[in-house]
């Protein structure tokens, strides 16, 4: 039986490659993001959004959910002979790109954002919080519907809009599930073989049951999650999953006990099918919140095996901590070596201790699960809006340089930093003001209609999770361009202040002229010892910037009292922030990409090399220490993977970063030759998967600019 399951997983792998080709065609040739699992199908009929009468926009609970319902009703059904589960998503709910109502838009704030190169502003953002899927698994869709009705009965008319909207959505989801059941029964009836008949009958029966019932078996539980994932994705690309092993362990163990599961290979196929459906961010391993003991169980291995065998872009994380299960850890690294990509390593020590510093008990901190690109969140009880708010550290430096030169004060490093701090403070305040505005008006415009169902509080209180629905509210903001800015400050201090090779005015001129005709000056500025080398001026400035930013963001809450937890992470803003940014004093030309997250720039060591240990030390040294991630991105040569001791060395490397206070390690394993060839001829490597930042993707799917970023890192490896 094992071979049959593995054949089906292989079939899913091939199907994903086919889908990817079609997706690339539809997306115009490249796709610089997570695979997201969407399937290139079309709606059964066009959907005309339902718009709010007053504003003419798809805003507010009523219009949003009515549009969502129409979309769900027109959404195609999907199932496949190689997948254990039915369901898919094909795109975002129509009309959701409508902006907020004019009277609730923060126009004043919006106007100032470009000055500070803030593009990912938090304000108006969606999702990026963690669900607690236990709620859905315990109740099922029918139970959720009855829960909504029960609480609606306890609330006044004022809450009617909220409850009717949520109820409307659940009823549509039930119809969506039922259509899958009906289609599966049809396919079973038409099946040419007994094997296929049984396959589709099984899917049909589970779906039919899940229209109302709460999952009883592991297979039903995962099928429920698949439908939830689909609906979550449809609504603004929601992508947060959960700790899959502890969530599903009771179902697995009960099924084994009851004799329903006799073959673990079948379970591996379940998980491969789940990951085929959607690479929602999820986690295995970690600590029991109360006892601190590692929670790894048999199912943790089966989840990992499913990911490994499917071998497509995936966003599973292994939580590393002092007592991490060694066997699971070893297997995860071994699979990373075999597949070139695999789980990312969420570092419990830095994350848990950091979050606890906010005044939370350590057991709450341990509950914060790695369910996003770079981020963690408390499942179902925290509104945190992770990964959608970023401040560019480099733009305030260019503004500060202009400020200083325009002022009557003397030009000096101290004055430059003084102006820099003023400018950065303004950028930080813009973010904080945006957060306050967001909380006030978001629920009126784009309520979290999907997450509300699987959080503790929104249904009980009749309040959106962004607006009083959950008890823990803290926000997040990531800094970008750390190395760009640190190396720039170092270049100024060394070449202008210490050596006097360049005047302040000349520096300003060459920057304004984008180093035109001043290549020697550009190279002179670029060649100062870099951030990451250890003990350099740039290292000192990196620490200064990280501390300054952390204090500005964390020490003072927003006007309305919300805490904002800082991290350093750039995601796609490497390009967007770079594109909007003028030439910088580190020798970077206008429009070029900024540095990646908190990583030192490629070739940061003297002589132009790099070393994973030096890089990890640098990233560990600039962690904010408040429980949000500042990830480390490392590329390991595939040759090491084949060698004795390679796995143990990488484990030691990850473990050390965890002990040093690191928060997340993303690793690619590929040979330089292969990555260069794939860059030249992406079509020859259709299933090469790389971890771009916090997410993984088919290398082929990335735009040439994104592929270049991965290649540049490899070239710097020497």
């Amino acid at each position: 039986m094992a071979q049959r399951h593995y054949d089906m997983i292989e079939g899913l792998h091939r199907l994903k490659l086919q889908h990817n080709d079609e997706k690339l065609r539809r997306m115009g040739g490249s796709w610089d993001s997570d695979d997201h699992g969407w399937i290139p199908l079309d709606l059964t009929e066009p959907v005309e959004p339902v718009r709010d009468e007053k504003s003419g926009l798809v805003t507010g609970m009523d219009a949003v959910t009515r549009t969502f319902v129409k979309y769900l009703d027109a959404h195609p059904v999907f199932m496949h002979e190689d997948s254990a589960f039915a369901g898919c998503w094909i795109g975002n709910v129509t009309g959701m790109s409508d902006p907020w109502r004019d009277e609730e838009r923060f126009f004043e704030n919006e106007a100032q954002l470009p000055l500070y190169n803030i593009t990912t502003r938090g304000l108006y953002a969606m999702n990026h919080c963690a669900p607690d899927l236990n709620i859905g698994l315990e109740l099922g869709w029918g139970g959720l519907l009855r829960k909504i009705e029960r609480y609606e009965g306890m609330h006044s008319e004022d809450y009617r809009d909220f409850y009717e909207g949520e109820k409307r959505l659940v009823l549509a989801i039930q119809r969506f599930v039922k259509r899958h059941a009906d289609r599966a029964f049809e396919l079973a009836a038409q099946a040419e073989t007994e094997e296929k008949r049984q396959h589709f009958t099984r899917i049909a029966e589970d779906c039919a049951y899940l229209v109302d019932g709460a999952p009883k078996t592991l297979r039903q539980a995962i099928q429920w999650i698949v439908f939830w994932q689909d609906v979550d994705r449809m609504y603004f690309n929601g992508g947060a999953g959960q700790e899959l092993d502890t969530l599903l362990q009771p179902y697995y163990e009960r099924d084994v006990q009851n004799g329903l599961i006799t073959d673990d290979d079948e379970v591996v196929w379940y998980f491969a099918s789940l990951f085929f459906n959607d690479p929602h961010y999820s986690m295995i391993g970690g600590q029991d919140p109360l006892t601190g003991k590692d929670v790894t169980s048999r199912i943790s291995f089966l989840i990992l095996e499913g990911q490994h065998r499917l071998n497509i872009p995936n966003n599973l994380a292994l939580r590393v901590h002092e007592n991490v299960n060694e066997e699971l850890f070893t297997r995860a690294v071994r699979y990373l070596f075999e597949d070139g990509t695999g789980v990312c390593y969420s570092c419990g020590t830095g994350l848990d201790n950091g979050y606890a510093r906010n005044g939370r008990p350590i057991y709450i901190a341990r509950m914060r699960s790695k369910v996003g690109c770079n981020w963690t969140a408390l499942p179902g009880i925290e509104y945190c809006l992770q990964d959608v708010t970023r401040v560019c550290l480099a733009k305030p430096l260019l503004l500060a340089l202009d400020d200083m030169l325009a002022s009557p004060e003397e030009n000096s490093m101290a004055n430059l930093l003084h102006h820099y701090e003023e400018r950065l403070a303004k950028a930080v305040q813009l973010i904080k003001d945006g957060i306050d505005w967001h909380v006030k008006y978001k629920w009126l415009n784009k309520p979290e209609v999907v997450l509300n169902l699987v959080c503790h509080g929104p249904i009980e209180r009749g309040m959106d999770m962004s607006h009083g629905g959950v008890d823990i509210v803290n926000f997040a903001c990531d800094a970008t361009a750390l190395a760009t800015t640190a190396n720039s400050l170092a270049a100024i201090e060394q070449r202008v202040v210490k050596e006097g090779r360049l005047t302040w005015e000349k520096l300003a001129t060459v920057l304004k002229n984008n180093y035109e005709g001043a290549e020697d000056i550009r190279l002179m500025l670029k060649s100062v010892p870099q951030y990451g080398a250890g003990g350099t001026i740039a290292d000192r400035y990196a620490k200064y910037l990280a501390d300054l930013y952390t204090h500005m963001m964390r020490d003072t809450p927003t006007h309305d009292g919300f805490i904002v937890l800082p991290g350093i992470f750039s995601h796609g803003d490497v390009y967007i922030h770079g594109k909007n940014l003028g030439a910088t004093p580190n020798g970077r030309k206008a429009g070029e990409a900024i540095s990646h997250s908190a990583d030192p720039d490629p070739g940061f060591l003297p002589g132009g090399g790099t070393a994973p240990t030096a890089k990890a030390n640098a990233v560990a040294g600039v962690q904010s220490g408040w429980g949000n991630s500042t990830p480390l991105q490392v590329d390991i040569d595939a040759h090491l993977a084949k060698e004795m001791g390679g796995v143990e060395n990488i484990k030691a490397y990850i473990r050390t970063h965890d002990r040093m206070g690191g928060t997340l390690v993303n690793i690619n394993v590929v040979s330089k030759e292969k990555i260069l060839e794939a860059h030249k001829n992406p079509d020859l490597y259709p299933d090469l998967v790389v971890r771009v930042t916090g997410y993984s993707a088919f290398f082929k799917s990335l735009s040439p600019e994104y592929r270049q970023q991965v290649v540049d890192r490899w070239l710097a490896n020497g």
Binding site: S527, A614, N617, E643, G645, G646, E648, A652, Y653, R655
Partner: protein
């Protein structure tokens, strides 16, 4: 004042120079002249200038920076007059395009230790440590000894890569502070030493035997397998046969030659011998299997190949 040594590189996250994650300190200067050496910048102690013309932006600053007029135009092309170049590095200091780089620098024990200790947590978690390599580290024995003493005081695992062409008492002085010795045997036949290694064969052989008598740590012997010089069953078989009688040998390792040093030879205006080649994987496997009849052989991908007796 901390003692100083002459180095040409320090490599962090070194995973091929002993167990675990290591930092390898490359000493400059060697008294062998292996014709295939992939680190030509390691041979002489004096600093040297590497020149990579493709990076040159033609700013001309090096011409004025050089006090000896070593940068000249020859047939319209920028070249270094090596007879005039003292390796002072003033030209490289002005070359922001990094077309000119100075190879070789003086470092104090304190400075080297600072770099080494930056990665101490990784040594501890991986069972790694520090490796002295080169060049020939035993040619700077006082500096090597001081460095090793400091490493041991920090509780670090220590290793040395040596070609053994030094008086035995020099090696002997380092042994109390070494956990591992990786000893290079470049070949067996006297002709290999006469024409290619250009080092004292008798001393190298004798020192290895003495090491086997005296050293209580891990002793490994390594041979770079270079076609057509020593990639033969006769050469490798003879070395393995000799090692068979050794009491403390941990393993024997064969390392295939590679031509990656070519760019550096060009940058130093030195002759790169094109006639050497990398033995095929099949050939390497055959030679390893042959050696494994006599001694335990280590290969990074194949692991340990045990002799019949061990099996």
């Amino acid at each position: 004042m901390s003692m100083t040594g002459t180095l040409f590189d320090i490599q962090r996250f070194a995973v091929h120079d002993g167990p675990g994650i290591r930092t390898t300190v490359f000493f400059k200067g060697c008294n062998n002249r292996c014709a295939w050496c992939h680190n030509p910048e390691s041979l002489i102690v004096r600093p040297q200038i590497e020149f990579y013309p493709t990076r040159c932006i033609g700013c001309g600053k090096c011409f004025t920076a050089c006090p000896n007029g070593a940068h000249v135009l020859k047939d319209g092309e920028h070249v270094i007059d090596r007879a005039r170049c003292t390796g002072c590095g003033l030209c490289a200091d002005t070359c922001y395009a990094t077309a000119l780089t100075k190879k070789g620098y003086t470092a104090t024990v304190d400075e080297v230790m600072e770099t080494i200790l930056a990665d101490k947590p990784y040594y501890e978690s991986s069972g790694g440590g520090v490796t002295l390599s080169g060049g020939e580290p035993a040619l700077q024995p006082e500096f090597a000894l001081e460095l090793l003493k400091r490493c041991k005081a920090e509780g670090l695992h220590t290793a040395i890569q040596t070609a053994g062409n030094v008086p035995f008492p020099v090696l002997q002085s380092l042994l109390p502070y070494l956990d591992m010795v990786m000893y290079d045997m470049k070949g067996f036949a006297p002709s290999v030493y006469k024409w290619y290694v250009r080092g004292d064969r008798e001393r190298i052989f004798t020192n290895l035997r003495l090491l086997d008598e005296e050293f209580e740590g891990t002793l490994a012997v390594r041979t770079p397998v270079v076609g057509p010089v020593n990639d033969t069953e006769e050469e490798i078989g003879a070395i393995a046969e000799m090692l068979e009688g050794f009491k403390h040998l941990s393993y024997y390792q064969l390392m295939p030659y590679h031509a990656l040093g070519k760019a550096k030879y060009d940058a130093l205006d030195e002759h790169f011998e094109e006639s050497f080649y990398t033995p095929s994987t099949e050939k390497m496997t055959l030679l390893e299997d042959l050696a494994a009849r006599h001694v335990r052989v280590f290969n990074y991908t194949r692991g340990y190949l045990h002799t019949q007796e061990e099996q």
